[in-house]
Each structure stands twice: as C-alpha cells, then as structure tokens.
C-alpha cells in the first residue's frame, strides 16, 4: 500500500465543462433582448410581471422538491428561465394572481408531476400557457396599447383570424411586425429581438440549428404554397414568420430539451411538422395562436420521432 491514495474512476477522465445551468443561463440571456424590448414598449409594469413569474416559479419548484423530499434542483436555473419565458408569452398587464396560477401549473403539472425537469413529456411553459388560455380567455386577450393612435386594438394574428389577410396589411406593415410595434404578448411581439436571442443560442451551440431552421422552413414553405395558389385568400408567408409567436416558438419553445426529439432526423421532422401545423391551425383552425398549440401537439410525437434512430455504424 502506498503512502497516498490514487483516484480510480471509469473513463472518461475529462469533461467539456458544459452543464445544464450553463445552458439555462444561455437561454435566459438570449431572452433578455426581448424582455428589454417588452419593458421599453409596454412600460415598467412588465418588470413587475416578469419578477412575479420568475420568483414564483423558483418558489413553487423549491417548495415542490422540498415537500416531496427530493434533491433541490434549483441550481440548474430552469425555474428562472421557464418563469421568464412564461412571462414573455403572457399579455402585458395580466393580473398578478393569474401569473401565480400560471407558474404553479407550469412547475407542478408541467414538470414536477413527471419527476422533475428532463422527464416531462410536454413543454412545461406551454402547458401553463394553454391552461391560462383556456381558463382566462378574456384576460389573455387584453392588450396594452402603447401606440398613441392605434389602428386596431387587436393583435395581428387576431386581425388575421377575424378579418382575413387583407386587413392585416392595412394595419401592420412588415416593419412593424419585424420590430414589434404591435399589440401582443410581452416578449413575443418583436421578431428582431427574438432573432438576436436565437442567434446567440446558435452561436453558443446551446441549441441545435435543426429545430429552429426546419420549423421556420415548415412555416414559410407551407404558407408560401397556399399564398402562391390562392391570391389574396391566404396570408403572406413572411407574415406567418413574423407574427403570432413564430420566432419565440422556433428558438425558445420548440427547442425545449425534454419535449423535443434527440435524433437529427427526428429534429427535422419535428420542426417541419410543427411548422406546417402552425400554419394549418392559423389558417383553418379555431385557435388564434396556432404556433403554441402546434408545438405542444408535436411534443406528443417526440417519442415516436425518437424511434427514427440514425443508422448505426456498419449496419
């Protein structure tokens, strides 16, 4: 026996240093441009709702893990990120208790009930969003209108649903949609800010390019086909890309790790499918915000898409 001890562990003996908390920090940082734009555009009240959402998500998760006697996993920062993300897809000025209900459902129903982050089959943020949408449809459609002389009191997607694509162009230019000068959810309105965040995520390699790119391609080409076929009856594919939460879905909601596929082929199909379903729901469905529902529905396909494993070497 030697005088000192050596450590013996299985390989590998090095690690990349990547961690879930690093990834969640990246996701949170990537949401900051959209958050700041929300505060600037909709007013300081947004700070209040973001704080309520983030703090309550952390409290609910801590409480749940403490009560069920599990290890506290708050250090992975998922509670912080998902709280912020939920706040950004709620209308600005939503009553404080609605946000509390939302984060409670997000943490308990969306995540903890399945055994914590990683085991949830659905995107927990979308679970909460849908629950709020179904429970409080009136609150969820009350927009703050920061522009002095608004042309309409509805969000672009609502105008599209109720009045048709021709009216949308009358009320909102593409520049408005791109920069975010429209009524809508706190962090969803500005495609530009979300693209900046998405670019950051891709640059940091936190997310894979496959899901966002195939999702955006699915939306663009499926909408494009109908736009070319029926003149005037269908909306411009660029409108579909810029409005109604397409961008936030592409980079932040569809890329949710546990509820999206893991294989390269699965990711592409997931993105394309969710993109096509987004346009389908918007054009022919009853729900206004098709993008969120489409992603949530495609979460259900994830286990099947994961069956499309890559061809193993030599087989």
């Amino acid at each position: 026996m030697s005088e000192f001890k050596l450590t013996v562990t299985p390989s590998p003996h090095v690690h990349s240093g990547n961690s879930l908390s690093r990834m969640m920090r990246d996701f949170t940082i990537a949401l900051l441009p959209a958050t700041i734009f929300g505060i600037y555009f909709f007013g300081p009240d947004v700070v209040r709702s973001v704080l309520i959402a983030v703090v309550s998500a952390v409290v609910w998760e801590g409480l749940s893990q403490w009560l069920s006697g599990r290890k506290l996993e708050l250090d992975n920062l998922h509670a912080v990120f998902s709280g912020l993300l939920l706040a950004l897809i709620l209308p600005p000025g939503l009553p404080w208790w609605t946000i509390l209900v939302g984060t409670l459902l997000m943490v308990m129903l969306g995540k903890e009930a399945f055994g914590g982050y990683g085991s949830n089959p659905f995107n927990s943020v979308l679970v909460a969003w849908v629950a709020l949408q179904l429970s409080y449809p009136d609150y969820m459609a009350q927009w703050i209108l920061p522009l002095a002389d608004p042309a309409t009191t509805s969000s672009p997607m609502e105008v599209f649903a109720s009045q048709g694509p021709a009216y949308v162009r009358e009320y909102f230019s593409f520049t408005d949609l791109f920069l975010g000068r429209t009524p809508g959810f706190t962090g969803q309105v500005s495609a530009l800010m979300l693209l900046i965040g998405g670019a950051y995520l891709l640059w940091r390699k936190t997310i894979n390019w496959r899901i966002p790119v195939s999702y955006l391609a699915g939306v663009f080409f499926f909408a494009g086909i109908f736009w070319l076929l029926g003149t005037g009856a269908y909306a411009d594919p660029v409108f579909h890309l810029l409005a109604g939460g397409t961008m936030i879905c592409a980079f932040f909601l569809a890329t949710d790790l546990p509820s999206s596929p893991t294989t390269p082929q699965g990711m592409i199909l997931f993105g394309l499918g969710a993109g096509i379903l987004t346009v389908t729901i918007r054009t022919w469905g009853a729900w206004t915000f098709g993008a969120f529902y489409a992603v949530l529905i495609f979460n259900m396909f994830t286990p099947f898409l994961d069956k499309i494993a890559p061809d193993v070497y030599g087989r």
Binding site: F4, V8, N208, T262, Y313, R315
Partner: protein, 392 residues
C-alpha cells in the same frame, strides 16, 4: 504475464532464477514476454491484478548491478517465429501481432492502413516515432507490405503533422500519406477505416472482412527493430503528460519499469498526482497504484492533479440530444445508458450496445454529467454474462 488481449503467458522462470535481458520469460501460443533487464526473479505473484480487473501472474525481476553481455535472442528462422518469440504486439489494439497477421493472410489484404494517430495528442509517441525514427518506421511498413501483400498502403497522419512528415521523410511511392483531422476518436479502427476507405463494417466482425488490415505505426517500427536490427522487444514508446498539464514528453520506457519511476524520471512530484490514467483521458483506465509496471498495452500515461479531477454525478437525462449528435458510431448513448441503468438490457442489445467503442464523447458533452460510458459498460458486461450462461 499479460500485456495483451488474449490468454496470459505461462511464466518460464521460478523464484530466484537468473534471467538475462532479451530472454523469453513468459510464453503463450500467440506471443511472448521478454525480460527487459539482466537480473534475477525476486518474486512470483500468482495473483497479480491486471488493470482490466483479471488476475494473472506477475514476475518481479530485480536487475543485477553488473550488466552482462547481452545474449543474442534465441529465435532464428522465419519472420513469424520472430514475431512470436519476441512478443510483438499490434500496439493500437494490444493484440498479438502474430494472431492478427495470420488472420490477415487467411482473409487476404487489399488495403493496409498504418496509423500514426494517438488519442488526445497531435504529436504523440507514434507521430514522434515517424518523425524521429523515420527510417525504421518505413522499413517496418515495407516489411508488413511484404508479409501482407496489399494493393494499397495508407499511412494516416494528423493534418498538423502532415507537412513535417512529408518534408522530413522520403516516403516510398507505395505508401500513400493521408492527412486526417485531429478529432477524437479518429485514431480508433472503425473511424480510421471509414475516413480512409469510406467503408464501414459491423463492429462484431473486423475490417479484415473488407480486406483491410489496420495496424499501428509503432507496430511497424517495433517489427523493423526486432527483425532487421535483431533487437529485443523490451521497451515501449510512451507519451507522458503531467502532473503539470503543459508537460508532454515522448519517451522510451523499459517494459516492467514501475510507473513511479517514469514519473520521477520526468521530474514529476508524486505528491501532486491524484490520478494515473493509462490510455487517453477520454477512454483510458485509471490505475490504483504508482507501482504498476509499464506494459506493452500502454501508449500514454496521464498524471492528473487533484484540481484536474472531475466527477460524474448521475442526474436526470434532459434528452438534449448532444450525445446522439457527437456519437461517432451513430448510436443513441442516452438510450443505451438508460436501458442499462434501469435493467432493460435486452433493449440495450437491440439498440446495438455492442457497437459502442467507449470513446467517451457522449459523457464528455453531457450537460447533466451522466456517466454514460460506465452505464454502457455495465450493460455490455451484464449482456455478456447472460449470453455465457445461456450457452452453458
């Protein structure tokens, strides 16, 4: 008595018997072990723990003070006998070279791949052999060409070393130099074969089925020194890193020397060392003692300090897909590990767990630090045990 994959060698010496450098001290049907020094057998340990976990016999040879005249090694005659009696291994796979060559001759070899790639190091021991002992290395390759009669011979080098090798050596026409990207685990056979020839083979078979023989450059080099220069095969080219992570050395070490001596020779402080890894940092084995001897299986030794160590803690898999993305064998490591850890080993077998080469890429990138390779090893060993008991 076991420095290779396969059955242990039988010790030919008893306690207190004198041995001479270059004498065969252990013998099996496929390979031999030669004494690295003059001296006497001071201890025979029947329960020596090999680092793969199995038991073998260990001989301790205490070198004598006065060095005697080196005896000419006994083996004369055909090349294969020399390969057998001087214990030449293929250093990449630690397989007895004779076994490999005999199989290769049976199957017929169209393509010969000689690899100078090391895990982790761009300029490791093999690249160093090629750069500094070029003549010997090339002679060895030509010997192998004469034995195997391939149509084409490729010499794989890392891109970074490519200009150096091309300028320094007059590579014969018959050897094609292939620059490869320094990307782990490029040095492993399946990936070498697919990178150079574009062909793939199921892992339970071998590249020989495709008419491809893949050997390490060090093998060629050893072969030349043993056959042409009549030297005893008693030293090993090693790359040593650490304990200071900026200290990399390519050295010749006599076989059987305790790793402690290697460390001391490098000027490393034993107190600093917290972990000793044989093989690369991604797929190597950690040793339990600094007194373990240097064997033919070792290509590189890493000394890690306490602050270099990392821990793998099993958390819930978040299905991020990073492991699927990086797996060079295009497996789904998180699934294999999950099946293995929950006992569904049949499912693991269905998902080609035996195609895993344990390169360590999946665990390296895992954001929740799951010890994926360890779980896959557990699954493989459980499956093998099941298969064995079914066969009985």
């Amino acid at each position: 008595m076991k420095q290779h994959k396969g059955a242990s060698c039988r010790p030919l010496f008893k306690k207190d018997q004198p041995v001479q450098r270059g004498q065969v001290v252990g013998q099996s049907s496929e390979t031999s072990i030669l004494s690295p020094v003059d001296g006497h057998v001071s201890e025979v340990n029947k329960n020596f723990r090999h680092f793969d976990g199995t038991l073998t016999t260990g001989l301790t040879i205490t070198p004598s003070e006065e060095s005697e005249q080196e005896q000419q090694p006994a083996a004369e005659g055909p090349v294969m006998d020399k390969i057998l009696y001087r214990g030449v291994l293929d250093s990449g796979a630690a397989q007895p070279l004779m076994r490999k060559l005999v199989k290769a001759q049976e199957k017929g070899v169209r393509t010969l791949i000689i690899s100078s790639l090391d895990e982790f190091f761009i300029f490791g021991s093999r690249a160093a052999l090629l750069a500094h002992h070029t003549q010997e290395a090339l002679e060895g390759i030509q010997l192998l060409q004469r034995i195997l009669r391939p149509e084409v011979t490729y010499l794989a080098v890392y891109e970074e070393c490519f200009p150096l090798i091309r300028e320094s050596a007059a590579i014969p026409e018959s050897i094609r130099l292939v620059p490869l990207q320094a990307k782990h685990p490029q040095h492993k056979d399946p990936l070498l074969v697919s990178a150079i020839t574009g062909q793939e083979y199921p892992l339970e078979s071998s590249p020989l089925e495709l008419g491809i023989a893949s050997l390490s450059l060090e093998t060629a080099s050893t072969l030349a020194s043993v056959i042409q220069n009549e030297e005893a095969n008693t030293a090993k080219a090693l790359t040593v890193l650490g304990p200071d992570p900026n200290q990399q050395h390519n050295v010749w070490v006599p076989l059987g020397a305790p790793i402690r001596h290697v460390l001391e020779h490098m000027g490393g402080n034993t107190e600093e060392v917290a972990k000793v890894i044989v093989g690369g940092p991604l797929s190597g084995t950690a040793l339990s003692s600094l007194d373990y001897p240097v064997t033919k299986e070792m290509d590189q030794i890493h000394f890690h300090r306490a602050q270099d160590q990392i821990t793998y803690s099993s958390e819930i898999c978040v299905k991020c897909g990073y492991c699927v993305e990086v797996c060079p064998m295009r497996l789904m490591p998180f699934l294999l590990s999950g099946y293995s850890s929950t006992g569904y080993i049949d499912m693991a077998a269905e998902n080609d767990i035996f195609s895993c080469i344990e390169c360590g890429c999946c665990a390296y990138v895992c954001p929740v630090h799951i010890p994926l390779v360890q779980w896959i090893q557990v699954g493989k060993s459980r499956l093998s045990t099941n298969l064995r008991s079914e066969a009985l």
